[in-house]
Symmetry: C2
Subunit: 215 residues, 2 copies
DNA sequence: AGATTTAGTTAGAGGCTATCACGAAACCTA
DNA sequence: TAGGTTTCGTGATAGCCTCTAACTAAATCT
């Protein structure tokens, strides 16, 4: 084999340990949030002493960034797998909701409260725009008949973020509202702001989705 | 004076020190987020040694809870001050946006990513329902003509959260969408998810608001 | 087999939360 | 105004944490 598709044993071991560290990190985040993530505790869980982890991640921040990257990647893949030809908003929406409920902290890592200083590395924002592209595809596939709103004409003049995507202004607007409205419902639901109230969040979600599809 | 409206000097001093501590805490939160809040650092800033702060707040968590309480209180007051007789959604919405932009971290303390274990004390949830009541008032004042949707009939059966408020189902639905849609736009804007894109978030916000008022 | 890279160790600096025991100041009361 | 009591702030300390540095031992490469 000319290609070392399977890497050297050391590299195999290394990636496997990195994976286990991330695994434990996800568990910690799920139970106590990202701020409670402790490299020391992970190391002890894995039977090694604190500083050993620094062979695998340069810092706590780098580990968290890696988790954020994985979260983005996971959502982008889910979206791409759901996306097909034609307008499949509903499928995307439900895929999003399933993905969010599957691991709320993972959702919050992507769309939750940011740390003021933090700036995502370029490859992460690239994944974000990949997600947006999938969404724009779905929106472009939907015909739009109603006349352009003022905001849509504003968007037509500020469409750099669509990154060359040929979506018409109405589709840009549709993608944005798809994003903000579903995020509005989802983030409040995941944050537990509906728990006291006894209605079914899933119905609110689909009601918003229906409204999105109707107009 | 039978009433000690002005307290004893000790109490005056005490509340003043508590206020200064919270002041510094807000500054720290604004620049580095709640997770970076350090009692030690605040103490040093105020010229006293670490443990002294524990005379004023039993723990870091208690201080943060107090900040959350103040944030809720501030929003409830803003809402109540904005609310008048009749349907003034637009005023409420813009008051909300101003309040949010005024101090994004304060907004996130209320509506942002929650710490998994954390449960807000009862008086805080009471303020939350006070906010909801103000919103329901505005929604009730608006006439609704369209036929009830399935979700609205569902809400009619699960309206405990309205806490005896006489709002009709359509108003319940309207209050929820008001909340989720505006939060959707605001939270993404404050979290910086629109920064790369060059459009004006204010226009998206008012576009969503207009849509809310139109239907 | 020897040289080199890498994984893991302990020690330690410096930060944090939080508790405790102690001195000192302020306050209340007789 | 003098004495007892409450309250404030202190330093010391325990126990976490992140992260660096020097060192050992094992695996890998030549």
């Amino acid at each position: 084999m000319a290609e070392t598709g399977t890497k050297t044993p050391r590299e195999r071991y290394r990636t496997q340990v990195r994976a286990e560290i991330k695994e434990r990190a996800w568990e910690q985040i799920a139970t106590a949030g990202p701020s409670a993530l402790s490299l020391n505790a992970i190391a002890k869980q894995m039977g090694m002493s604190g500083p050993a982890l620094y062979r695998y991640f340069a810092s706590r921040d780098e580990l968290i960034t890696e988790l954020i990257r994985d979260a983005y990647r996971s959502l982008a893949d889910t979206f791409r797998a759901t996306s097909g030809p034609g307008p499949n908003h509903a499928a995307l929406a439900h895929a999003l909701r399933r993905w969010a409920l599957d691991d709320p902290q993972r959702y919050f890592l992507v769309y939750g409260t940011p740390v003021p200083g933090y700036h995502a590395p370029d490859d992460v924002t690239a994944i974000a725009s990949e997600i947006m592209t999938t969404l724009l595809d779905a929106c472009t596939a939907l015909p739009s008949d109603s006349p352009a709103t003022p905001f849509e004409t504003h968007l037509e003049g500020h469409r750099q973020w669509a990154d060359g995507h040929p979506a018409p202004p109405a589709a840009l607007r549709r993608a944005l509202t798809f994003w903000t409205r579903l995020h509005g419902v989802l983030s409040l639901e995941l944050a537990g702001h509906f728990t006291g109230m006894r209605f079914d969040p899933a119905l609110l979600f689909t009601a918003e989705l229906d409204d999105l599809l109707a107009h």
